[in-house]
């Protein structure tokens, strides 16, 4: 009898637990998982290595060239999308240099390189240029280019092309380690008088001035020197700890856009009066502010905004005050892109439809050859 009583107690308890769980849950969830799985398609994956950081991409002739330490290329119209490694030569001799940035400027390819000495005891750096012969998979680089600093001791950390000017950011062993050099022809470089304690993260040209974001500061200038903008000209709602992620002037939208690492997006048409996205509050995912990065204009209606760890966002129509215009890349079945840090975007307008690339940190290169106004998130594939 005692045993029977115990059993019935167990049964009552189990019944209570299960019913409680069921009534508590009773089919909850905001996304239909089975439906999502049913519609998931295998992501196209071309031959470029996947677990790599893609630091640069350019198009020369019919070929895309990307830097990920090594350099690869593929034919833009190659249906097999096969990527070929590029043999690197430096001044006619074989080299094992690693390329950490690419830029195509004034008909030449520019690459920032890191090289170990032959006995592996020293590391040198340099900016090199090459006239690319697309008939071969070999690039013979010339350099290092004398940009006005001791070549072997400075590391080139950023290459920007802004307003027809090649801008080179270097890191040197000084108290203010970040220096800016610039050139309008790719051969003769000038040194900016202003040096920076933090990495200049992005640069754009607006209102007849270059705008530079460095940590939590905004600088303007004419490249020969920069000065921080007046405190009163910073966006309202920007707190002192706000680090900026990207700055971009969109001629299509007629506004300067600014993103921050704490989830905010700003825009201005005059450089002093700022509009804010999301009512000035950080845009969040799972209660964490999205660290925004660089902007990239796709067409007259669409701009992309990279993030650090949350893929990218679309900004439609340029009006950031309307939250409906700012949408995150939505296909989380492409987990690596959905949670990627997007370093750069690139579009190839000569293709129809326009092909778009997203360079990620650690998750390779992604492309979308069907990026129409319908925003085909499911069409992204991995190169």
């Amino acid at each position: 009898m005692n045993t029977k009583h115990t059993v019935l107690t167990y049964l009552s308890l189990i019944t209570f637990i299960v019913l409680s769980l069921f009534l508590w849950s009773c089919n909850t969830g905001e996304n239909a998982i089975f439906y999502t799985l049913e519609n998931e398609k295998r992501t196209v994956d071309n031959t470029l290595p996947n677990e790599v950081t893609v630091t640069g991409i350019v198009k020369i002739g019919d070929y895309y060239y990307v830097s990920l330490g090594a350099i690869y290329r593929r034919n833009a119209s190659n249906s097999e999308n096969k990527w070929d490694p590029i043999t690197i030569k430096m001044n006619g001799e074989s080299s094992s240099g690693l390329c950490n940035n690419l830029a195509y400027f004034n008909g030449k390819l520019y690459g920032a390189f890191i090289m170990d000495s032959s006995d592996q005891t020293a590391t040198s750096f340099g900016l090199y240029s090459a006239t690319v012969n697309t008939n071969t998979t070999e690039i013979d680089w010339s350099g290092p280019i004398n940009i006005g600093a001791s070549q072997s001791e400075i590391q080139i950390v950023r290459l920007f092309i802004v307003n027809g000017t090649l801008i080179v950011i270097t890191k040197e062993e000084t108290a203010l380690p970040y220096n800016l050099y610039y050139s309008t022809d790719g051969s003769n470089f000038s040194h900016c008088a202003t040096t920076f304690d933090l990495l200049p993260n992005d640069c754009t040209f607006f209102n007849s001035q270059y705008w530079l974001i460095v940590g939590n500061k905004i600088y303007t200038g004419n490249l020969s020197s920069f000065s921080e903008i007046s405190t009163t000209n910073y966006p309202e709602g920007k707190v002192s700890g706000t680090y900026f992620g990207g700055i971009y002037y969109s001629s299509d939208f007629g506004a300067l856009y600014l993103s921050s690492r704490d989830g905010k997006i700003f825009s201005t048409t005059d450089g002093t009066t700022w509009k804010t996205a999301n009512g000035g509050e950080p845009i969040k995912v799972s209660d964490k502010a999205v660290p925004f990065g660089i902007f990239y204009q796709i067409n007259s209606n669409l701009m992309l905004l990279g993030t650090d760890g949350y893929g990218f966002y679309r900004i439609i129509g340029g009006d950031i005050t309307n939250s409906a215009n700012i949408k995150r890349f939505s296909d989380n079945t492409k987990a690596e892109l959905y949670s990627a840090s997007v370093l750069k975007f690139f579009k190839d307008p000569s293709t129809n439809p326009t092909v778009i690339f997203a360079c990620t940190s650690g998750y390779g290169l992604w492309s979308n050859a069907d990026y129409s106004s319908l925003f085909q998130d499911s069409s992204w594939g991995r190169e």
């Binding site: 045993t3 029977k4 115990t6 059993v7 167990y10 049964l11 189990i14 019944t15 299960v18 019913l19 769980l21 069921f22 009534l23 849950s25 009773c26 089919n27 909850t28 969830g29 905001e30 996304n31 239909a32 998982i33 089975f34 439906y35 999502t36 799985l37 049913e38 998931e40 398609k41 295998r42 992501t43 799972s286 989380n332 079945t333 492409k334 987990a335 959905y338």
Partner: protein, 202 residues
């Protein structure tokens, strides 16, 4: 709509849990051997094996592909005898399988089951019906759903303490469109578990 399912579920669970008591009053068939266990005896089994995604079904009856690879399943099941042939069990486990892009689907069911054991010493053949909830996790998505698990097993009784066997369990998971989801996204997941068991009596 959901209230309708809740009521059905509550009725079902009550049927399952009292079935043992009803069965315990019934006579055993003469063709079976005398059971070794009786009211109050308990079991604990560990199960592991293959999880086979079969198909999804929409509410209009159409069958859809799961796009999942075969996966793995594991569970712990605690049971108590109501008489020599009838048991009730509480089971918790987990399943994994992969999507076309090798993203991992996780299903964590918690179920209560009623079980009838056919005894043919040294073999036992339990048939059972379980019900409960599943917590389904995929990427950033989580869904809590209703599950039915009918199944049958075959055990070889090594001694009075240990049995070893194989299980065939059908999983039916009802995943309705909830929240802002459009109703056409409702799916019923159909899966098959084929697993091995080690069962301890105490």
């Amino acid at each position: 709509m959901l209230w309708k399912y809740r009521k059905l579920f509550v009725v079902f669970v009550l049927i399952v849990t009292v079935s043992g008591i009803i069965f315990s009053e019934s006579k055993e068939k003469k063709t079976q051997t005398v059971p070794l266990y009786s009211l109050g005896d308990q079991t604990l089994s560990i199960n592991g094996g293959l999880f086979v995604p079969l198909f999804f079904q929409a509410t209009d009856g159409s069958v859809k592909p799961t796009n999942l690879t075969p996966g793995g399943v594991g569970s712990l099941k605690w049971g108590v005898y109501l008489n020599g042939n009838v048991k009730v069990n509480l089971e918790a486990g987990g399943v994994f399988a992969f999507s076309p892009n090798f993203n991992t689907l996780l299903i964590l069911p918690i179920t209560l089951s009623g079980e009838y054991v056919f005894n043919y010493f040294p073999f036992n053949f339990p048939v059972y019906l379980g019900t409960g909830i599943t917590i389904t996790r995929y990427q950033t998505y989580t869904h809590v759903d209703f599950i039915l698990k009918p199944g049958l097993s075959a055990y070889w009784q090594y001694n009075t303490l240990w049995s070893f066997g194989i299980n065939f369990v059908y999983w039916w998971i009802f995943q309705p469109a909830t929240g802002d989801q459009p109703s056409y996204e409702t799916r019923m997941g159909n899966f098959l578990e084929i697993s091995l068991s080690a069962l301890y009596h105490f």
